[in-house]
């Protein structure tokens, strides 16, 4: 087990180098002036800029140097934990990512719960009622969710929840709550506002943060349910066909326990992997949902970074995501071993 963890961690630097080099490689399709677009962000900024100034800016940011030189320069800085400056975020790349990660983490944590829970629940029901009406209804329901583009459904949900009902506003906090959070008395323990709110005894703040999470969570949940549901359903069907299920029935285990104790536990093993992938996807930022709900997370940052070709930030985010992915997959593997005793000794 330990050897396995070590081996996986050894892959980490390799992945990170590969990923970032690929970004640099892609940037080679641009000429230096195009790369400068990260620094001159709109026509308005061209106002008093001569072509000489443009040359100077290119030199200043080293945009005309060859790929290898730029990459090595960048790596040199990385070694000192300096990810560079993001012009889009107006702050160092490291700060930009670290300041938005708690928001994304919070959203992911709160979204994961309903998605996995309900997804498994529906998946089990669907499998147990295989091919009957209930199964068909659940599957159609889920597959519609899966077929809905997030930019169609997200806007729709925002419109209903906030536009029509006026209940769940976009953003991350209401104004008054923002004032509380940025005040001196409010201590930030985790960066997750719901938890911090509770720890500070400000339940109103926690509730407010929760209120802002509802829209994105509903959107994400419906879109991702199908994902969990189908894998649960199919692995549940597979499990229900297994002989140990007949064994359980043959020893008189009630049907409820046959399903929930014997089949489900086995069916959940592949679900763990998928759920793990999903959590990693959520942590990597949900670009469109965050954009629509004006939620200040990694996804929105990534969207802006890539639209404006802010390559220090793109690199930072890719690095961050690569790290997350490798470590996250490792955690999933460990979890896997805990759920499935067969894996333990391998």
């Amino acid at each position: 087990m330990l050897a396995y963890i070590v081996r996986r961690l050894l892959i980490l630097p390799f992945i990170l180098i590969g990923v970032t080099f690929l970004v640099f490689f892609m940037m080679q399709f641009l000429d230096p002036v195009q790369r400068l677009a990260a620094y001159i962000k709109s026509p308005e900024e061209l106002k008093n800029l001569s072509s000489e100034d443009i040359e100077r800016l290119i030199k200043r940011y080293g945009l005309d140097r060859p790929l290898w030189v730029q990459y090595l320069e960048w790596v040199k800085k990385i070694v000192h934990l300096d990810l560079g400056w993001s012009e889009v975020a107006h702050q160092p790349v490291k700060d930009a990512i670290l300041s938005r990660f708690p928001a994304t983490l919070e959203l992911a944590l709160f979204a994961v719960f309903p998605v996995i829970w309900v997804g498994i629940w529906l998946g089990v029901i669907s499998a147990v009622h295989r091919d009957r009406l209930l199964d068909q209804v659940i599957r159609v329901f889920a597959i519609i969710g899966w077929s809905l583009p997030s930019f169609v459904f997200g806007i729709f949900i925002l419109f209903i929840l906030y536009g029509v009902l006026g209940l769940f506003p976009p953003g991350r906090l209401s104004l008054w709550a923002q004032a509380v959070v940025s005040s001196q008395e409010f201590k930030s323990y985790t960066g997750l506002l719901v938890i911090d709110g509770i720890l500070n005894g400000r339940f109103d703040v926690a509730l407010d943060a929760l209120r802002h999470l509802v829209g994105p969570i509903i959107t994400l949940s419906y879109l991702w349910w199908a994902f969990i549901l189908r894998i649960t359903r199919s692995s549940m069907l597979e499990a229900l066909n297994k002989e140990y299920i007949t064994t359980a029935r043959a020893k008189g285990v009630p049907e409820r326990l046959v399903i929930h104790r014997h089949a489900k536990r086995n069916a959940l093993i592949p679900v763990v992997t998928v759920a793990g992938m999903m959590v990693l996807g959520l942590l990597g930022g949900v670009v469109i949902t965050e954009t629509i709900f004006d939620y200040p997370g990694i996804g929105r940052l990534a969207a802006t970074a890539s639209q404006q070709l802010d390559y220090p930030l793109i690199l930072g985010i890719t690095l961050f995501y690569g790290f997350l992915l490798v470590v996250g997959n490792l955690i999933v593997d460990v979890l896997y071993a805990i759920i499935d005793p067969r894996v333990r000794l391998e």
Binding site: L30, D31, V33, Q34, R35, L36, A37, A38, I40, K41, S42, P43, E44, E45, L46, K47, N48, L49, S50, S51, E52, R56, L57, K59, R60, W85, E87, V88, A89, H90, Q91, A96, S99, W117, V118, W121, I155, L158, G163, G166, L167, F168, P169, P170, G171, S174, L175, A179, S182, L207, R211, V214, T291, I292, F293, D294, L301, T304, Q308, L309
Partner: protein, 613 residues
């Protein structure tokens, strides 16, 4: 089934709590603005955009300010008097300006304002002179050069600024003396005399007071002591060049503010919001509003709902979406606000040929255009007649824009309501195209691409209109309209690849020179992109008149010259004047005290307060 019950229950709980949160007048002592502007720096001398300018306007103060809605009258702010010939504070035929400095004003950190701070501020702005920044407005009247780099190049006879330094960034010893002399020039231009500050101009400069009154940054007064504490230029001649053209994020004032204005900076949450708080120790009455939050919300639908729910008091509304909020309750829409901005289609007289994918074959054979296609005045005029202003302004702007009669916009000296202008006329367009290139254009046709930076609707539609009308006029006239990423646009624009391109200009100060010079002057901001032939044309036709207009003080005489410039502009048609838009202000009706000044970058929060109707 347990899961289902729990879900229903938790949803019900959330519903109850959230319905408690709805109120009528929200946040009575806070103003929330939702906009798309991206604040890029808080250093007043670095900033040159309106989003940053709005913050700076409310935190820093200038010597003087515009009086209410006026563009010609001023009120003293950190000065105690507005200089004029009458009160003797403008002397030497408009080459010396004297400002008595107000006493007892404190910066937000408690430091007292001194005349020394004022002089330091202007010198700092001139020395800082970042690439593409606003410092030229001070440098031109005070030193006679548009940038420090031009000045250095001229005085020290070096090819470029970089040549002054060794590999490791040290000033080469041979330039030490020259650089000190240049500093003396800067130093002499703004001087402290007792409790006054004196500006010495190299020539009379009619819009100088406008430049000092503009609140977006370059004339803002900072505290010298505080700046030095932040690691900024210490105000001495030693190594002043190190503080020239800094990298934005290394600029000590990049994210810190310490002004004398009615609001203090509380927090700049990058990319999310800027929060300001009332300055209780303000030298006038403290502001009525305690707090201002400027939120960045890119999604229109979200902004709209924030406004509708009262969570935002004012939002940025793109013109095309006005119909959506016209019937909204509790919303005030103020239309027809004159803006000092103009949108122009510029012809490239010398299109670059090598590797240019936008001009087809590069020949006049019906499958492309030659490099100097637009050098023929008949081609340019032909295109001018193809643009359908009436439809465009009616459909795209809901009638809330003007067709310009010349480059000087309405509201400024030199605007000629009766000046000649082009109109949509297919016959005349045909006539011009038949004359162009000895009739070859009409017979063979052409093909090229108009680029616009994706996301700009008005520019897209203007380009499409030209393209569709051209094809209607002659099926051999093929224009492809293509939206591209800003990076591509930037690159092709600076390389000179674009056959024609659309640009806007927002006034830096309300004077016709600020429009004539960039668009018609041979050294103007846009001529460089319009090619050699355009520069030559400007040198002959426009430069002498532009210079003449700046040497004259009498407004009547100036106006005549600007009329003449614009008649020549019509005759040579170096560009198509698209529109001068009318501004729209949208806010909740409970916002009171709002007034308009076209030169102000955003809101004047000092004047605002909230009360239910």
């Amino acid at each position: 089934m347990r899961t289902g019950r729990f879900l229903a229950l938790s949803f019900a709980v959330i519903l109850v709590f959230s319905s408690l949160a709805i109120a009528q007048l929200k946040n009575p002592d806070t103003i929330v603005i939702a906009t798309i502007g991206d604040v890029s720096t808080l250093d007043p001398h670095f900033s040159y955009d309106t989003a940053s300018g709005e913050i700076i306007y409310n935190v820093y103060e200038n010597l003087i300010a515009y009086k209410g809605e006026s563009l010609t009258e001023f009120v003293p702010l950190l000065a105690t008097e507005v200089p004029s010939f009458e009160n003797g504070l403008i002397k030497d035929g408009g080459k010396t300006y004297i400002f008595p400095i107000r006493k007892g004003v404190k910066f937000h950190n408690g430091y007292e304002l001194t005349p020394e701070d004022v002089a330091y501020s202007f010198k700092r702005c001139m020395i800082l002179d970042r690439s593409g920044g606003p410092s030229w407005m001070l440098l031109d009247p005070l030193l006679g050069y548009e940038s420090i780099k031009d000045l250095v190049r001229d005085k020290l006879k070096v090819p470029s600024w970089e040549d002054l330094f060794t590999q490791d960034g040290k000033l080469k010893p041979e330039y030490e003396k020259g650089m000190r002399e240049i500093y003396e020039m800067i130093d002499r231009a703004v001087e402290v005399q007792d409790d006054k500050v004196v500006f010495r101009l190299v020539k009379p400069y009619p819009p100088f007071l406008n430049i000092l009154a503009q609140g977006a940054g370059w004339s803002a007064i900072v505290s010298k002591k505080w700046c030095v504490e932040q690691g900024d230029w210490p105000g001495t001649p030693d190594e002043w060049w190190k503080y020239h053209d800094p990298q934005k994020e290394k600029d000590p004032l990049y994210e810190k503010m310490n002004g004398t204005g009615p609001f203090k900076l509380v927090e700049w949450k990058k990319g999310e919001y800027v929060k300001l708080e009332r300055n209780e120790a303000y030298w006038r009455e403290p502001a009525k509003i305690r707090q201002v939050v400027i939120r960045r919300v890119d999604e229109w639908a979200t902004r709209r709902m924030l406004l509708e729910k009262g969570d935002a008091d004012a939002v940025y509304v793109p013109r095309q979406y006005l119909p959506q909020i016209e019937k909204m309750k509790g919303i005030r829409i103020i239309r027809g606000l004159p803006t000092l901005a103009i949108e122009v289609v510029l012809f490239n007289f010398n299109i670059r040929v090598e590797g240019n994918a936008y001009i087809g074959s590069g020949k006049l054979d019906g499958e492309g255009i030659p490099s100097d296609f637009f050098s023929d005045v008949h081609v340019r005029k032909g295109f001018c007649y193809l643009f359908d202003w009436d439809t465009y302004i009616k459909e795209v702007w809901n009638g809330e824009a003007l067709q310009p009669t010349g480059i000087v916009p309405k509201g400024l000296l030199g605007y000629d309501p009766n000046g000649p202008k082009y109109s949509f006329n297919m016959e005349k367009a045909k006539e011009e195209f038949m004359k162009a290139w000895n009739g070859e254009v009409w017979n063979k046709g052409f093909k090229f691409t108009i680029l616009y930076n994706a996301g700009n609707e008005e520019r897209r539609i203007a380009a499409e209109m030209l393209a569709r009308n051209a094809r209607k006029l002659n099926p051999k006239f093929k224009i492809e309209v293509r939206g591209v990423q800003w990076s591509t646009y930037l690159s092709d624009l600076t390389k000179g690849n674009l056959p024609l391109f659309i640009m806007g200009w927002l006034a830096d100060y309300p004077d016709p020179h600020n429009f004539v010079q960039p668009f018609l002057g041979s050294k103007g901001a846009f001529m460089a992109y319009q090619g050699r032939n355009a520069v030559d044309l400007a040198k002959i036709e426009f430069d002498p008149l532009i210079e003449k207009a700046m040497e004259i003080v009498d407004p009547k005489d100036r106006e005549k010259i600007y009329f003449e410039i614009q008649r020549k502009e019509f005759e040579h048609a170096p560009h198509i004047l698209l529109y001068q838009a009318m501004g729209v202000h949208v806010s909740r009706t409970w916002i009171k005290g709002w007034y308009y000044n076209p030169m102000r970058p955003g809101g004047d929060f000092y004047s605002l307060y909230k009360s239910a109707d």
